[in-house]
């Protein structure tokens, strides 16, 4: 870009061009979304297999979500280092997903506490009446998680104008409603389905866009 005297029209055009360039400048990698999409769907499907074939792994598969925090921290640090530009949205998105992470772990804690409290009551009911308890708490766990999954996914999709994630968030909420009325097997299947459509597929699209943008940038600098 050379220094030259601008007309008023050229000045306004230049401003519009540069603002648009800044808007299109940053593409997030989809690695985190892909990883969490895979982790959550594996956890849900493994639980489903445990129920279908009546066996139990020595450890709860959901510990995988705790393990996945380690690569997530490295991914976040690397992405922050690679960013040449920070937008106003970045800070809100970071806090949104951090808040989501904290909420999920609080939910796990609450769900475990309620489960441990309700199981003896159900067992006692079954012993006294000879019928299984009409209230089985584990049937209501999936809707709670799907409700929370939908929030950051929908907000990110809407704020970043990224439709696959916006639809993914809506799908989480739709599955949240359905799973209130379905058995745990369907709940787990819909949880895996939601994770694939809310994170895995949008993540693959984001990663593809990120690589394409990187390639285009490299070509302009040849």
């Amino acid at each position: 870009m050379e220094e030259k005297k601008l007309t008023e029209k050229e000045s306004l055009d230049l401003i519009a061009t540069m603002i648009n360039q800044a808007k299109d400048s940053y593409h997030d990698t989809g690695i985190s979304a892909i990883m969490w999409g895979i982790v959550i769907s594996i956890c849900a499907l493994e639980k489903l297999v445990e129920i279908l074939f009546d066996f139990k792994l020595p450890v709860d598969i959901y510990w995988l979500t705790i393990l996945a925090i380690v690569p997530q921290v490295f991914i976040s640090i690397r992405q922050k280092k690679e960013r040449k530009v920070k937008t106003y949205d970045d800070i809100y998105m970071d806090y949104l997903w951090l808040g989501f992470g904290v909420s999920i772990f609080l939910m796990i804690f609450i769900v475990n506490a309620v489960f441990n409290a309700s199981e003896p009551v159900s067992a006692e009911y079954a012993r006294l009446t000879g019928h299984p308890s009409p209230f089985i708490f584990r049937e209501f766990i999936a809707p709670l998680f799907l409700l929370v999954y939908g929030i950051p996914t929908f907000v990110t999709g809407a704020a970043c104008k990224f439709r696959p994630m916006l639809w993914g968030g809506l799908l989480c909420w739709a599955c949240c409603i359905i799973t209130i009325f379905t058995t745990i097997k369907i709940d787990l299947l819909l949880t895996a389905f939601s994770a694939v459509f809310a994170w895995l597929i949008p993540g693959i699209i984001m990663e593809r866009d990120y690589k394409r943008a990187k390639q285009e940038l490299a070509q302009t600098h040849v």
């Binding site: 870009m1 008023e8 540069m18 603002i19 800044a22 280092k81 530009v85 920070k86 970045d90």
Partner: protein
């Protein structure tokens, strides 16, 4: 009566830099260079002029043992930019 356009902003490269910085929270020097296609020397001079006018903050630091320059628009810069755009619009509207 037309107001005179701010001479600091009424220059192609400085205006391009300000237009980029108004849309983001902060940007690295290399990012601005990529987007404006300016030479490093020319861009440094124009960034220094914007800094001297109080329109941008320039933070120099090291990242992985390499020098890194980060630019950020100031409140004064935002006001100046908004006034510049309003003046441009009045020129074009009445011209």
């Amino acid at each position: 009566m037309f107001k005179e356009l701010d001479p600091i902003l009424h220059s192609q490269l400085r205006l391009a830099v300000m237009s980029l910085l108004i849309s983001v929270r902060e940007a690295e020097f290399t990012f601005i260079r990529e987007k404006t296609n300016a030479t490093a020397g020319n861009l440094s001079v124009q960034i220094q002029k914007l800094k001297d006018a109080g329109y941008i903050d320039v933070i120099k630091q090291f990242k992985d043992n390499y020098p890194q320059t980060i630019c950020k628009i100031t409140k004064q810069g935002i006001r100046a930019f908004e006034e510049y755009v309003a003046n441009l619009q009045s020129y074009l509207g009445k011209g």
